[in-house]
Amino acid sequence: MRVWKVGDVGLPADASHALHSMLKILDGRSAASWQLSRSMDADVLFVGVDAGSRALDMAQTTGKIMVKVTEGRPVSEPSDFILQRPFRVIQLLDLLDSIAEHLRKHPVARPVRHASWAPALSLLEATAQPSPGWRVAGTGDGGQLWLDNEYVMAGASTLQRLRDEPMDISAFASSPIPPPSDAARCAVTDLGWHLGWHGTGQMPPWLDERESYRLRRWPDFGRLGVQPMMLELCAQAAAHPVTHAELVQRSGCSPAQAYRFLAAASLAGWLVAQRQAQPRAPSTVRSSGWARLVEQLRRHLA
């Protein structure tokens, strides 16, 4: 029997506790075998959707099977898996059997972890929790970064370098020690963008090569600084949901740049997995006077 891993993000403590306890009770009673795991390793994510946290955004970028856990009347797509709080063992069992059936019909590739993604994965995990407390990471220049839900705190010079250049950053770990009172701060989204753009240039393990993604919000390039191809990539991904291959083809960037962009946008929380309404035709040679004019303007300003 295949073992499926279950993780939870953004659940209230009581719901998370109930889920964990019930999974133990259900062991051997479901059509599949379910094992509790960290969210980054999970095949199925139980996501708290009531708190308005980043949990849903983070979960949507993973392309994993998602169960929306809600206290109120569920607002959902017909294809969503929903679990209404408070829930009972029998409801969870029914739901897991439905998911097992879905997974049997629509097999998914299990995400593969990579050591070089450790800082990014630890950032995703930390920001998906409602109140993770302080997390701290070391930087290559001997500095430290403190992280809570919204902000990154560090010395002013460390934050400036974070904006200007690639920087080695370790994985975030819980810390009982808060940042110094004179620490400067920047948005967590800025750190996410940095980690992704300066990452490995490979497909992040929490995204799917075949999935289409749409950029739901542009980065503030006035604040972050802009590098070659960033504007082109954002414009393409904001206009339509795109796969990695389509992004490369339409923007003219390298495959590594497109991977970096997808990683950066998803770590900043601005990328959503979205099915294309209909497959887009391949980009054709643009020969109209208007097209040439726009292309000339873009090149003129580059």
């Binding site: 948005a187 504007l231 904001a238 208007w290 000339q296 873009r298």
Partner: protein
Amino acid sequence: MSGATSEAFKLVFTGPMGAGKTTAIAAVSEVPPVTTEVTNTDKQANGKATTTVGLDLGRITLGEGQVVHLYGTPGQHRFRLMWQIISRGAAGAIVLLDASQPDVFEQARIYVDAFRAWVPSGAIVIGLGRTDHPDAIASDILAAMLEGEGWPLPVFSVDVRKRADVLLLVRALACILESQLDSEVFA
């Protein structure tokens, strides 16, 4: 395609009084812009000495005689009629806002709502100035507000006195227009 001929097209700079439209056009135009600045008699709305009452006009030449015209609208709402006239045939719009003004969200709504109707491509970029002011709102908050309204537009913190910042806005607009070349707007 509405908004351009094969030899020229029009970009509009708009936004409330004092947001920096005239300054932005001057920063990127290759010729001294034509302006219609007069003494500001509406000091309650903004304390600056002069204001645009007609339009500003600048130019970027791309080569082979191809030209981008940069139009600036008057900022005062009583000249709203001019906004529509100036934006007729525009390929895109750059909305400049002042982050330190308490009504910045309302101003964003007014200008984006108006110019989305008038710019057929829907290509709009927001330039948010004075973000270092103590009372300034963060660009992320404005971007989230616009996203909530169903307008996922680029919002960039800029200093319109800096040519590079204004070019960033124009480049983003050009990239958005290029990304839409396959859509029905440009068919």
